[in-house]
């Protein structure tokens, strides 16, 4: 599934350039939309590490986003921190939470793990509502507001940093270990790859990234309350990850655009009422799964593989004939 390196770097460079230049042609509102895409980009990146690369299904990344978001909110609101230093703290909190979730997750597999993470994702907003003295409860906490371009810049800078860090992690030994765990736990273990260490580490890293996404998310909203981290968020992150293509860093951008821009795009095109947005979006999700069940990355794969396949078919391909005795 690897396109030639030079091509890949060119494409990445082109996309990065496009993203960097985009805000200059966008309105302020659209810039904050772009920042939202960055939020999903980071969150889906995080999910991809634990689900796509290590094979542990998590439907609960909304919870880690909530942790990061509330960390940033509480630190800036109640403790007077300035914005940027809260991000590493959020990442650390997320990492810790990821390890905590990852440990009992060693015992569960497949769907039980998925539903457990789902439970965590749903429980966290409830807990946030309950312990309102800390978290501002249902009314939530306000955050300093920023201009669209500041948010866009922050979002995509963080996204770029996370992307590069993930890429470095995944191409190294740890990344190979992750993929080994995903493909066959037994084979990995018998090759000396510690399942416990790598599965928990994957959760930790993944959660840290999601937490940072949460921090940017609350900054974009200029506001935090339990509702913004509901069921919908976790589901959308999962949809974005699968539509983009699990186990591929390339599809992450596609996935993020799909879940953030498509609904907005539908409601902006004044041909349909705002009410029909969910119907159309839902139909699109179904359609994408019918046509590209393995996500955009699959389409990218075919786009690069097809020329090779065509070349192979046209070259001489007479099958070997074995003579019978």
């Amino acid at each position: 599934m690897r396109a030639p390196t030079a091509l890949r770097f060119t494409v990445v460079g082109a996309v990065a350039l496009a993203i960097a230049l985009m805000p200059f042609v966008l309105s302020d509102y659209n810039r904050s939309q772009g920042a939202r895409v960055a939020v999903f980009f980071i969150a889906i990146l995080g999910l991809n590490i634990v689900t796509g690369y290590t094979g542990q299904i998590s439907i609960g990344h909304g919870a880690f986003m909530a942790l990061g978001g509330y960390t940033t909110a509480i630190l800036t609101h109640s403790h007077g921190w300035s914005t940027l230093p809260t991000l590493p703290v959020a990442a650390a909190v997320g990492f810790g939470a990821g390890i905590v979730v990852g440990l009992p997750a060693l015992r569960f597999h497949g769907v039980y793990l998925a539903l457990t993470t789902f439970a965590v994702a749903l429980a966290v907003p409830q807990l946030a509502t309950n312990y309102s003295h800390f978290t501002g409860g249902v009314e939530g906490l306000p955050l300093p507001s920023h201009t669209g371009i500041w948010l866009y810049g922050l979002g995509w800078s963080v996204a770029a940093v996370m992307f590069v860090l993930s890429w470095l992690l995944l191409r190294g030994r740890t990344g190979r270990a992750f993929r080994a765990v995903r493909d066959s736990e037994v084979a990995a273990a018998s090759s000396g790859v510690s399942l416990a260490v790598h599965k928990t580490l994957a959760f930790g890293v993944s959660a840290a990234i999601a937490a940072v996404a949460g921090s940017v998310y609350v900054l974009v909203n200029a506001f935090v309350n339990p509702d913004i981290f509901g069921l919908t968020l976790s589901l959308y992150i999962l949809i974005g990850a699968v539509v983009g293509g699990l186990g591929s860093l390339w599809g992450v951008l596609v996935g993020a655009c799909f879940v953030q821009l498509l609904p907005i795009g539908i409601s902006n095109s004044h041909t349909v009422s705002a009410q029909s947005v969910p119907v159309i979006f839902g139909a699109m999700v179904i359609l994408v799964m019918a046509l590209l069940p393995r996500g955009a990355a699959e389409a990218l794969f075919w786009a690069t593989e097809l020329p090779k396949r065509i070349r192979r078919v046209h070259s001489s391909s007479t099958p070997q004939r074995l003579e019978a005795q």
Partner: protein
């Protein structure tokens, strides 16, 4: 649907639970009332949980759309009643519509994703169905919250000197009846046998002539009908009411119940649902610091505790991992 309690701990746990509820009910009228109304909630969770298990057993897919489909069916029932049909006629017709609806959803939205995709692709497709169906409700019926009539008159029944709501008893009865009917179908009919065979070993089932594809569709139809029962039992409650997001919270409890009981076991789903319903109701009333927001985390804590002891749920099979 044979019970598979491989550890002695499971029957012990259940017996302990049952004894707790029984003794408490005999001791205190309030306890008994809370237990019964909790069991009514539990019946609803159980119905939806069995629907989830039905589909999971056959396809390894968690149907996220189960709640939304149930809500849609309940709206359809409301519409029939608004057209002056009697309750039970509307109820029966709705079950039929839900059955057909389930088949349609499977063939149109789910089957295509399954053809070349993984289980996760199908799950995402089901999330797509969730979004679509829940989104279509306001388009057809508007956003007003509506009132859905109960099947049972608002009377109290006195058992052993304690007053119970007829509605609660009726809900428990209907939920259990629905699940039992399904059990009879699976255990004693040709169709049920063919469906079980298709769920356990689809390739081998094809070799004896079973149309596995249709069995799957019918499974989705039955699950959808069961969800409709849950929806129609849940809607009358003042804390639920007929609105598009009606089954969202109930679906979550149903997930917890299904997982707790063991995702492959309908019996487990029933036990899990009833247990969660009853225990949470008691917890909410007797333990002061448990606010309504903490009920959901409490349910999950219960689920997690069970999973830590028995990773595949109460009645789940500890599957042999193939090397």
């Amino acid at each position: 649907m044979r019970m598979r309690a491989t550890a002695a701990i499971v029957p012990l746990l259940l017996a302990g639970c049952g004894v707790f509820l029984l003794v408490g009910s005999l001791e205190s009228a309030l306890f008994a009332q809370l237990t019964v109304s909790g069991l009514a909630n539990g019946g609803i969770y159980a119905s939806l949980a069995v629907a989830l298990v039905l589909i999971y057993r056959a396809t390894q897919v968690i149907n996220f759309a189960q709640g939304a489909l149930a809500t849609f069916a309940t709206y359809v029932a409301w519409q029939f009643i608004a057209w002056n049909m009697t309750y039970w006629l509307a109820f029966s017709l709705t079950l039929g519509c839900a059955f057909v609806g389930g088949i349609v959803v499977e063939r149109v939205a789910i089957r295509p994703a399954g053809r070349r995709g993984s289980v996760l692709s199908i799950v995402i497709a089901s999330i797509g169905v969730l979004i679509l169906v829940e989104g279509s409700i306001p388009l057809i019926w508007g956003t007003d919250v509506r009132f859905f009539p109960s099947a049972f008159p608002a009377r109290t029944i006195h058992v052993g000197g304690v007053a119970f709501q007829l509605q609660d008893l009726g809900t428990i009865g209907v939920s259990i009846a629905a699940v039992v009917l399904l059990w009879i179908l699976f255990r004693f009919t040709k169709l049920g046998l063919a469906m079980r065979a298709a769920a356990f070993r689809p390739e081998a089932a094809r070799l004896v002539g079973v149309r596995v594809g249709w069995m799957l569709s019918i499974g989705w139809g039955l699950a959808s009908a069961l969800g409709a029962v849950a929806g129609m039992m849940a809607a009358p409650s003042p804390s639920v009411l007929l609105q598009p997001s009606m089954m969202d919270g109930i679906l979550i409890y149903a997930f917890a119940a299904a997982v707790l009981g063991g995702l492959e076991s309908p019996a487990g789903a029933v036990v899990g649902g009833l247990a969660i319903g009853a225990l949470l109701n008691l917890l909410g009333s007797y333990v002061g610091w448990v606010t309504p927001q903490l009920l959901l985390p409490a349910a999950f804590l219960l689920m997690l505790t069970v999973l830590l002891v028995k990773p595949s749920g109460l009645f789940g099979r500890t599957s042999v991992r193939r090397v």
